[in-house]
Amino acid sequence: MASTQVAFRGSVADKELADQLFQVMSGFARFSSYDAPIRLSTAALSEFMGTIDMEATPEKLQSLAKSNSTVFAIEVGDEETFIVTTRAGRSPVATSTDSDHTFAVRFMTPLPKPERTTPVRPRVVAPESSWIRDVFVPTGSLDVIAASAAAVPAAARVVEQAPVETPAPELTFESESTPVADRVEDEVLAEPEAAIPAPRTITVPPVMVQPTSLPQAAVTPDPVASEPVLSVPAPSVPVQSFGGVDDVRLATAIGDRLRMDPRVANFGDDWMLEERVPRLGRNDLRRLREYLQEQEQPLTDEVLAQDVLGGRPGSPDFEQLRFAVNFRLSREHREFDFVGTRNQRFWSTGSLPQIGTTRKKPTEIATDYRVIAEDPSQQAEPRSVASIDHVLTFYEYTLGLLPYDRDLQGLLPAPLMPNQRSSVLTFECPQSYTTYLVELRYPTPNRGGFILGLDDFYNENLVPGALLSIERTENDGHYLVRHIQEKPTSARMLELEDRRQRYVFRPTTYACGVFDDYLLTEDRFGNLAQEKPLDEKSRRRPESVVSASFDRIGRKLETGTGFAATFNELFAVTNIERPFAEGYLRNLLDSDESGAFAKDPDTDDGYTYVPGSTS
């Protein structure tokens, strides 16, 4: 360790003693820092010096310290006198900690935010064409602009600029009027307000823009003109009045334009800005799907918003949540299917059990109803009638369905969404206080439509040949279905025994109004007992079904070569195998080219069938 060389004052003996004293004190605090004070009492130092054969009284040491005040300092205590020095060989200097700028203090007391002047941007008065598209300028705003522009100094004036179609030269700023020398002179002589920039022309660099219907405007100072000239670009598209337009066409026009706008969200008749529609995360979608699968039936948007997403009916944002369910799920084509109507918005997901019968596949039923899809006379305007009456056939009774024929098309709603294949409706029977969930399957170009899911309603209340009426409500997804209540009647009615696949007559009691000609009782059609359903090949040919029906009715002609039956009997029996509309059956019988079917002159509305003409 390098020792510190210190020069002492006094005689040679004093210098040597002072040096020894310094060495002793430095050795005592050899691990201290160079400028740390080393404080020892004169008595202790005197005693130690005596042990190393350096005799020095405390007074002598004190006088040495006093004569070398640059090296030693003397501190007088209550009982003792101390000599103080440092390893650096300097008398210690009292130091104080500067805490004015510590990190902790600066953290706790940050400097105030410097005040900055915000740059003032010149306000462009004329609206841009894009702004005009988005924001409606309320009535009278142009007047306000005109009034405010009149008060604007002539230096800031709005002038029209023709739409730029061809590339212009580069950006140039050039002075129009005075040379530089004159301008300097003018600046010296001018009044303070004359310091306004000299008139100049700003040439806008070439921007290849499409000419829009609205002229673009630029702000250009124009101190020369004495009268303020204002030219506000008025929109070239006028405000239309829709007083003479009906609501339907106006709704179509609104839909055509707003649906093309990505900023607008639409579902059914409802509109919102897309950015304001609550968003559903993947977790929300998973919970919605699992809840549908758990309930095993389609559910309405209201139920989903309430049970899954925790919305509260009646709260201000509940309708927005419902809209979010509909709008967001409509974007998830792979997982969710919309099966609702305008007023009753059902949602379904894959792997839900089918509504209605499992005796026949829906595609097979749709094929059976192909005659409806192909018949133009069976088309009707949706929701154009208030109620319909219908006579139940055996085919409909067995499968728990109704045909989507002209009557039901006029009663039920059209699909709300494009590519919507089915709608789930609720049929309420006020007589039994029961509501049934049914599925309306819309027709396709080569398959007919029908309603599934009425099995229980039929089994509990009706028999084939019963009359029922369906009435619409204000809710286009909810309908009232009624039957005529009668006194209980017992009869042996036709049934299809599933296990043996044979027609049988079983005693049945019914309490509904029936159309007697369509009633399939053993008394009238006893030949049907133990009959098997027709094979698929014969069933597909309407003529075969009709000829088989003649045979099953079994009323032979007097000549013994054929059969006779009334139209109502034929209608009831043919509809056991496959659906026949009245018009279709009548047309088939009247326009049979083979000549097998003919009008029966002996019977009112009767027909005959002579076998051999058709197979």
Partner: protein, 49 residues
């Protein structure tokens, strides 16, 4: 101001769409807004110009 007559095909122009968007942006209106409400707004709008 022009009249959209019953015979013509109705088409909304940019000003009409801007007006409908301003209605959809209105935070004071209950959302969503139905088509019928938009129709009523278009009909009751005070024409300008």
């Amino acid at each position: 101001m022009s009249d959209a007559t019953t015979e013509e095909t109705v088409q909304l122009n940019d000003v009409d769409i801007a007006y409908l968007l301003s209605i959809l942006r209105d935070y004071n209106r209950p959302q969503p807004i139905s088509t019928q409400q938009l129709i009523d707004e278009l009909r009751t709008r005070t024409p300008r110009g």
